[in-house]
Every structure is written in structure tokens, then in C-alpha cells.
């Protein structure tokens, strides 16, 4: 018994060292990919939220400047056919697109985690009925429905409604993934023990099951931002979003509408495309970086 005690306390002491200092314990998280991704996101996020305060004029107002000014010190990317400064327009669109993405991601993650954990843990008839809904939403083809919806509410929609629509069609897949994770936990002994110690279903889901899916939730959150920006841009390009609001998609819509490609005003098209790619790269690197860091911690290389 004493020998067991000694070795055990050594082990405990060894593990204790990891807790010393918060910085050390969080350091495992930052691999190269994650660091680059976070830096890109930080620059774009901070830039798009702080810079608009210094904008000389509201970029979405038409006819502020002379049309088609070439790039200069005053207008970095020139102006467009509507007399708007392209640089400030892009900055504002990154902000709007990011905001939309984050709001949608919050909605999707909350709904899908709740539904997925509930269905996976509770099981039985509740699960079958819930999964019927989830599978229905998964099988509905997204783009045709969005085009029909867009055609119906064209012009009358607000930016918020676009977000709600994306949430509506985006939660189901994540819910299915979370459910599959909860399923593997349902029959584990410690879940039984938690139940035997008097915890109710909600407490078990929150305290025992959620920690397992927390890491996935973070990755899913970032992926959903990507998905939301992507979907909104796709809608805007075909003119079905709120095209007066500057977003990465609506710039491209206006540029295509005024034939920027053929009239040779490449700045109008290239600027939003580069911004979109940079944003996607940042989100993608962050998402895979988190995944890699969590996998490494679990011992999967």
C-alpha cells in the first residue's frame, strides 16, 4: 500500500507541474497553422472594425466621388461606377460579412449542439423524431431553396433575415455530427455513475457529455463562419441578398452588374476576391490548426 501511495503521489505531483502558470498550460494550443490563421483573422477583424471609424465618408452612399477614379493615395483601389471608394467599401464589407458569419455561427452552434446532444444522449423515440427533422434539413438542397426564397423576398429582406435563413439551413449537419459523438458516450460507465449519483438529464448533458464535444464545437463554429460568409456571398452574387448592404458578395454583384471585367476596372473585382480569399484562408487555418492541436493532445498525430 505504501509503495502504491508513493508512486501515485509522484504521478500526481508530476501532473501538477502542468498546472503551474496559465501561459504554459495554454501553449500547447498554438501550432504554426493556428498562429498564422489567428494573425490573419486578427488583422482583418480588428482592421474592419476599427478602420471604418476613420472613413472620410459613408462608403455605401452612392455618388460621393467622381466615377472610375484610378488608384491614388486618396483612393487606394480607385472608385467604382457608382462613385464609391472601393477600399472603404471592401473594409465595410469584410466587417459586415464577418459579423454575419459570427452571428450565424453562434446560432448554428447553439442549436446544433443542443439538438445533437439531446438526441444522442436521450435516445429512443425522442431521438428518432428529432433525427427525422435533422435528416430532412440535411437532404433539402440548399441552393435551389435559397434561390426561390430569395426571389420571393427580394428587396424586402433585411440583413438579419438572410442570417436567419442561413441558420435554418445550416444547423442540421452539425447536429448530426454532435449526435454521433454523444451516442458513443451514452453507454459509458461514468454516464451511468453520474445518473446513479442523482444528476438529471440536463445536468449530465451539460457536465458529462458536453466537455467531450467542446473542442469540436469550437472547430464547428469557425467552419460555420466560413459557410455563412460563403452562402451569403453566393446569394449576393446572384442578387438575392440585401445588395445595398456592403458585403463581400454584394461588391462582386455590383462589379458584375457594371461589367467591371470587360470595362477593365479590375480593382473593383480583385479587391473583394482577395479579401474573401484572405478571410477564408485565415478561418481555414484557424479551424484546421485547432483540430490539429486537439488531435495532438489526444495523442493522434
Amino acid at each position: 500500500m505504501t509503495s502504491e501511495k508513493v508512486s501515485a503521489s509522484e504521478m500526481v505531483a508530476g501532473s501538477h507541474k502542468n498546472d503551474v502558470g496559465w501561459t504554459k498550460s495554454i501553449l500547447w494550443l498554438f501550432n504554426l497553422r493556428l498562429s498564422i490563421g489567428l494573425i490573419i483573422l486578427l488583422v482583418m477583424g480588428l482592421g474592419s472594425f476599427i478602420l471604418p471609424n476613420f472613413a472620410p465618408a459613408d462608403p455605401s452612399v452612392q455618388g460621393t466621388y467622381t466615377r472610375y477614379l484610378p488608384p491614388s493615395a486618396e483612393h487606394f483601389f480607385g472608385t467604382n461606377a457608382l462613385g464609391q471608394d472601393i477600399f472603404w467599401f471592401v473594409v465595410e464589407s469584410v466587417r459586415n460579412s464577418l459579423t454575419l458569419g459570427v452571428v450565424v455561427a453562434f446560432g448554428v452552434v447553439i442549436i446544433s449542439t443542443t439538438v445533437g446532444l439531446g438526441a444522442g444522449y436521450i435516445g429512443g423515440r425522442f431521438e428518432r423524431i428529432t433525427m427525422l427533422f435533422v435528416d430532412t434539413f440535411i437532404t433539402i438542397p440548399l441552393l435551389p431553396v435559397l434561390i426561390i426564397l430569395g426571389a420571393l423576398i427580394r428587396g424586402n429582406t433585411s440583413f438579419l433575415v438572410v442570417g436567419v435563413i442561413i441558420i435554418l439551413f445550416g444547423w442540421a449537419w452539425n447536429a448530426r455530427t454532435v449526435r454521433s459523438m454523444a451516442l458513443t458516450l451514452r453507454e459509458r460507465e461514468f454516464i451511468n455513475m453520474a445518473r446513479f449519483s442523482g444528476s438529471n438529464t440536463a445536468e449530465i448533458i451539460l457536465r458529462e457529455v458536453f466537455p467531450y464535444v467542446a473542442a469540436y464545437t469550437l472547430v464547428g463554429f469557425i467552419n460555420t463562419i466560413l459557410f455563412a460568409i460563403n452562402t451569403e456571398a453566393a446569394l449576393a452574387v446572384i442578387g438575392l441578398s440585401k445588395i445595398e448592404v456592403p458585403t463581400l458578395g454584394s461588391i462582386i454583384f455590383w462589379a458584375l452588374n457594371y461589367n467591371a471585367l470587360f470595362t477593365g476596372h479590375y480593382g473593383w473585382l480583385v479587391a473583394p476576391i482577395v479579401a474573401t480569399i484572405a478571410l477564408f484562408l485565415g478561418l481555414f487555418l484557424t479551424s484546421t490548426g485547432f483540430n490539429a492541436a486537439f488531435a495532438e493532445r489526444r495523442g493522434v498525430q
Partner: protein
């Protein structure tokens, strides 16, 4: 005193219902360690679940009742319907495999203070928990670690600490030492006995290991095919078993200095699906007669506090001594 009277627990399956515990009546005195033995599928675990009150579909309480003999906070007697509210308060459960019974992604101290409805002062609870685990022979740092950082014995100790933190009146231990080696097994059993002595509560302990039963328990319940076949003081059950099944079960144990070949009990328990009449052990019993096959023997008190369900309990033991199975 916990009284189990005529308890029938059944499982609903696609083929129909099946009684995994079929008309079992025993009384468990206060402050007593009761061992439950019997082969796989005899209904031990089902009985434990029923006593613990974890009766969920497809399992159901079809007949009989359990009188726990203790009352809840409002002074009402606890019944099978309300016992779930007593979990880990007056009634605790120590699981079979403590390896998997602690959540691997949460520190143990969180699991201590996570008890629902506990004292809202988490700091004070944690202080008490630290003190308590030290009393159980665990290093105080163990409470700050994750389960995988502890050895199997420490984890089972931790589980016992969690289960006995509120000084329950009844502890149900379902094969608490099965996954442990003999040295740790002994420590755990000694710890359980020590705790029982201090708190004076009752323990229901399931084990396949007759040695564990002999060392730890005061009383023994032997089950066979969903029925209680023998129940009595452990000494009495081991030294003068009344039921042929108990006799053969004990006869199959090795003893030091006796190098004769050991015999198992030939045959296997009857399927609970079939039409069961008469004594359920009759097909494997060397003493069985026509009467055994037709008439079911009741659980009768043959000696003070020693019950057996056999038409030939005790009387015919001498005949068995040179029987074909030994």
C-alpha cells in the same frame, strides 16, 4: 431493516416478458454486510438494480415490494418510486469497473462538488472532500488530478469516497473488486469493512469470488435461476450448507492441502423462457426426485436465521458426502 417481499422483476423483450428475479423475499438487518452469489444470469445484478431503484424500461417491477426502512427529508418512508431521490444520499452505488466510472475529461474535485443540490459553499465541500479522501488513504493531491493519473486501486478508492461521502445507510457494491489484483482487492475490501464499522450502515455486495464472501460478509444470499435458494449467516452457509447447489458451489472451491481434483457442477442453469415448474435446480441435482420436479420448494427457515429452498434441505446431506460429484 430492509425487507424485500415477493419481488418480481421482469424484462420486456421482443419475445415476451421474462422474470429475471422471480418471487424473492429476504430481510436485510441494519448494519449488516450481505453477500450475493450465484452464477451469471441468475439475477444478481437485476436484484441490485431493483434495490437501487434504477428500474427503467425494458426492466419493470412486476410484483412485490421493497421496504427500505428509512425515510426521506420530509419523514415519508422511502419506496421504490421515491428511492431515486435518495441516490448518493442514503443509498449509494459502487460500480464494477471504477476504471470507467469517473469522467476522464473532468478533474475529480469537480466531480466531488458536482453533486446536485449540495451545500452551495463549494469551497467548504472541497475542504471536507480533501479531508475525507485522506481518511481513506489517498494522497490529498489526488483530488486535483484527472482519473487517468490514478492507479486502478486509487480510482476504486476514489469511487468509494464519492459513494460514501454522505454517509449512506445502504451501499450497493456490484463486484467492486473484479477488475483489481488480489493485493488491491484486499485493501479495498478492508476499507469497505472499516467504513461499514464506523458508519454502521448496510452493504449489499455482489461477487463471483466465494473467498471475498467468506472474508467480508456476515450474511449470504445464494441465487439460482432468478430465485433465492439459500440465505443465512455466512459461517453457517459455508460450514453447513443446506441447499445442494450451495453445497456443490462450496465443494468446487479449492482449499490448501487438499489436492483432490475439483469438480464443477455438471449442466447449466435452465432457460428462464421455458415452462418452469418444480425446483429449478432439479435437473442438475444428485438428490432430485419426482417431488422436486413437480413441486416448487419454498424458502423456509430451517435453522434460526438460515433459510433454504429445498425439499431435502440439510436432512440428506450425509448421503451426498460420497456422492457422484465429489
Amino acid at each position: 431493516m430492509i425487507r424485500i417481499s415477493d419481488l418480481v422483476i421482469s424484462y420486456r423483450t421482443g419475445r415476451g416478458t421474462i422474470n429475471a428475479v422471480d418471487g424473492l423475499s429476504i430481510g436485510i438487518p441494519d448494519g449488516c454486510i450481505v453477500g450475493v452469489a450465484g452464477e451469471s444470469g441468475c439475477g444478481k445484478s437485476t436484484l441490485m438494480k431493483a434495490v437501487y431503484g434504477d428500474i427503467v424500461s425494458p426492466m419493470s417491477l412486476t410484483g412485490g415490494s421493497i421496504d427500505y426502512g428509512f425515510s426521506d427529508r420530509n419523514g415519508k418512508p422511502v419506496t421504490s418510486a421515491t428511492v431515486t431521490r435518495q441516490w448518493f444520499r442514503t443509498l449509494s452505488y459502487i460500480p464494477q469497473s471504477s476504471m470507467n466510472s469517473l469522467n476522464p475529461v473532468i478533474r475529480i474535485r469537480e466531480q466531488f462538488i458536482d453533486f446536485p443540490g449540495i451545500d452551495s459553499n463549494k469551497k467548504r465541500v472541497l475542504e471536507q472532500a480533501r479531508e475525507y479522501i485522506q481518511k481513506l488513504g489517498l494522497p490529498v493531491e489526488a483530488i486535483d488530478s484527472y482519473p487517468h493519473q490514478l492507479s486502478g486501486g486509487m480510482r476504486q478508492r476514489m469511487m468509494i469516497a464519492l459513494a460514501t461521502f454522505f454517509q449512506p445507510q445502504l451501499i450497493i457494491a456490484d463486484e467492486p473488486t473484479t477488475a483489481l489484483d488480489v493485493v488491491v482487492q484486499k485493501e479495498i475490501l478492508l476499507l469497505l469493512m472499516e467504513l461499514q464499522e464506523q458508519m454502521g450502515n448496510s452493504i449489499l455486495i455482489v461477487s463471483h469470488d466465494m473467498g471475498v464472501h467468506y472474508q467480508v460478509t456476515k450474511r449470504m444470499l445464494i441465487m439460482y435461476a432468478a430465485k433465492a435458494v439459500e440465505y443465512g449467516d455466512t459461517d453457517s452457509v459455508f460450514n453447513k450448507p443446506l441447499h445442494p447447489y450451495t453445497r456443490m458451489l462450496i465443494g468446487s472451491l479449492p482449499t490448501i492441502g487438499d489436492d483432490r481434483a475439483r469438480h464443477g457442477i455438471p449442466g447449466s442453469p435452465p432457460s428462464l423462457w421455458g415452462d418452469l415448474h418444480g425446483c429449478r435446480f432439479a435437473d442438475r441435482c444428485p438428490l432430485a426426485t419426482e417431488r422436486c420436479r413437480n413441486e416448487e420448494p419454498p424458502l423456509v427457515e430451517h435453522k434460526p436465521e438460515h433459510f433454504a429452498a429445498c425439499h431435502f434441505a440439510g436432512q440428506e446431506l450425509t448421503k451426498m458426502e460420497g456422492g457422484k460429484w465429489q
